[in-house]
């Protein structure tokens, strides 16, 4: 037996008091763990968004009236002439190139691999959006350039059938397929022209889910919009391209179009999320402070209730260091228990909160979460116990003797 065992026996003897004393720490640790797990899940989700949509520009016709098409935010009833594409591409390429040169060819973003980035040509995916009625339902038909579109929307997956590739074919977004009841092989009539449905896409959680896709030239012909497009999606083919430079250059140089970088939006969202997380962690730190103070009060109270025991140890020859160690060991054990309980509670909370806060997100186990939880709880317990332990060790032996 050693002092550690004596502390363990003491913890075991005062289970209720121990649980009560550690409860503040348990709650604080649970809040910390839940906040971190949810924050990590959220950051991961945002990084996914940045990776998916971030390296792209969307170019719309410039218009003062920001009308949207059925809430999709995909058009304004105005068009960009297809003939403007080479000029747009030239401005874009030039901006990217000079952007890299301005940065010395080095990747500037944190976390990016060092070295000269490989410049690959960007993919320009034009789209024409038109409204029509299919099976007595209002529908949006998107004309696309299949090769460019599939490069640009690399996350597209076919649920059934295949991707559209011919002018007499169409492909449906997942929700469109469900609400209209059309199946692969069916004929879909657009402006009196029957087209064959060759595929249905998997859900993408984007406006694409509600559309019907056809070949750009065919859709232009069906709606009498030859040579016109509604928007261009430009996907930079390098992860850390200075896409913001291209956005500025296009908006400054090309009259009649408005370029928007999705990356900037996603980064702004990322920044907001990070700030909110920091504020929450600040509140968690405050809860730790309160938990420490509550624990301090309870441990001080316990010491007054343990005068007899402290007195006995002093009389039997316990040194100040040994008495301090005894209380620190108890704090360590309380911290360990509080950390484990707090982690489990926090993980449970995060499992409930994360999917509610960020749709489709699942929490993931990471070994450093329980380690952090236990370290935080032990630190809090020891800080709260240091003075009471010092106080007990300094108790005069005569007072201790009188307690016996």
């Amino acid at each position: 037996m050693n002092l550690y065992h004596v502390a363990l026996h003491e913890i075991g003897r005062r289970k209720t008091r121990t649980a009560y004393t550690a409860s503040g720490v348990v709650i604080s640790v649970a809040l910390l763990v839940a906040s971190i797990i949810v924050a990590v899940a959220g950051q991961k989700d945002i990084v996914l968004i940045i990776n998916r949509y971030g390296h792209s520009l969307t170019i719309f016709p410039a218009t003062s009236s920001e009308t949207t098409l059925k809430g999709f935010g995909i058009g304004s009833g105005q068009y960009i002439p297809e003939s403007a594409l080479p000029a747009i591409r030239e401005v874009y390429d030039s901006a990217i190139k000079s952007g890299w040169e301005a940065r010395g060819g080095w990747v500037m973003e944190p976390g990016a691999p060092s070295g000269v980035a490989l410049l690959q040509p960007a993919t320009f995916a034009p789209r024409l959006y038109e409204e029509t009625t299919i099976s007595d339902r209002h529908a949006v038909v998107a004309g696309v350039d299949p090769e460019a579109e599939y490069k640009s929307r690399f996350w597209w997956e076919v649920e059934t059938g295949k991707l559209v590739s011919r002018p007499d074919e169409v492909m449906a977004g997942s929700v469109f397929g469900k609400i209209t009841g059309v199946n692969v092989g069916d004929r879909v009539e657009i402006n009196g022209h029957p087209l064959k449905l060759v595929g249905v896409l998997r859900e993408t959680d984007s406006p694409d889910d509600y559309m019907l896709f056809g070949i750009l030239s065919a859709v232009q012909e069906l709606f009498g919009k030859q040579g016109l497009i509604s928007m261009i999606n430009v996907r930079a083919m390098c992860n850390y391209c200075p896409i913001g430079d291209a956005e500025v250059a296009l908006n400054k140089t090309v009259v009649g179009v408005r370029a928007t970088s999705q990356r900037e939006l996603a980064l702004a969202q990322h920044e907001i999320f990070r700030n909110v997380t920091n504020v929450i962690l600040g509140f968690v730190a405050l809860s730790f402070l309160i938990a420490c103070m509550a624990m301090f009060n309870m441990v001080m109270g316990t010491i007054h209730g343990r005068l007899r025991e402290i007195g006995l140890f002093k009389v039997l020859g316990a040194s100040r260091g040994q008495l301090m160690r005894l209380f620190i060991y108890e704090a360590l054990m309380m911290g360990l228990l509080g950390g484990v309980a707090g982690y489990l509670l926090g993980y449970g909370m995060a499992s409930r909160i994360a999917p509610w806060l960020i749709a489709g997100t699942d929490v993931e186990f990471s070994w450093w979460h329980p380690v952090l939880a236990i370290l935080a709880a032990i630190t809090c317990s020891i800080l709260a116990t240091l003075y009471p332990a010092f106080f007990a060790s300094r108790m005069r032996a005569a007072e201790a003797f009188r307690a016996l």
Binding site: M1, H9, R13, R308, G317, S319
Partner: protein, 220 residues
């Protein structure tokens, strides 16, 4: 072995000064069993506390083996209490979460650690006081008299040269009191331990080699 030279202790509460112990001088030899007799409030427990290195005297010297223990550091006095002195109190003062064996071996925890040798010694002491079959019991599972015997065994664990006993038979019935006194006298004779026992019970003086009577803080 123990020498008190003009030891005194005064307490001041507000303007009131109380002399708990006044100018005490006495010596106790190795293996001597000394009973200090006196009524409640006569200063005998305070004297014991000063000899045990727990209460600092206001005046005079407490010397053990020729050394003034109040010239030592706190840690040295703690070591002295652990290795040279065994304490027995009016109440058993056992740790309820530890077994009888661990309670007896407890002083070793603050000395060289609760080694196998210390546990064997504790087992032997439990046998001497007739508690061999109770070593795995907890204090709540044994009688008051047995608890007192555990406390006495604990006082003898480190083979101390001095045992200080403060009313060790205070609330015991006659039969248990006799058992406890037998243990004390046996240990005293067998181990040549100096025993200072404070009591107000005159019946105990028959076990002692010498009796000192205290009244109003002074030895008569």
């Amino acid at each position: 072995m123990i020498e008190c030279k003009a030891v005194s202790k005064t307490y001041q509460i507000g303007d009131t000064v109380t002399e708990a112990v006044r100018n005490i001088c006495f010596k106790a030899q190795v293996g001597e069993f000394v009973v200090i007799l006196g009524h409640s409030g006569s200063g005998k427990s305070t004297l014991l506390s000063m000899i045990g290195g727990l209460t600092r005297p206001s005046g005079g010297q407490v010397a053990v083996a020729g050394e003034d223990i109040w010239q030592w550091s706190d840690n040295k006095r703690a070591k002295f209490r652990n290795q040279t002195i065994g304490f027995v109190f009016q109440f058993a003062s056992l740790i309820p979460t530890l077994t009888v064996l661990d309670n007896i071996a407890l002083p070793s925890l603050f000395g060289e650690g609760m080694t196998r040798a210390a546990r064997l010694r504790a087992r032997d002491l439990a046998g001497i006081v007739g508690l061999s079959d109770k070593i795995d019991s907890y204090p709540s599972e044994i009688s008051g008299g047995q608890q007192r015997r555990v406390a006495i065994s604990r006082a003898f664990l480190n083979d101390p040269r001095i045992v200080l006993a403060d009313e060790p038979t205070g609330d015991l019935d006659e039969a248990t009191e006799a058992q406890v006194m037998d243990v004390f006298t046996g240990m005293c004779r067998q181990h040549k331990t100096t025993i200072l026992m404070v009591t107000h019970n005159r019946d105990l003086i028959k076990s002692a080699d010498r009796t000192l009577v205290m009244k109003d803080g002074a030895i008569l």
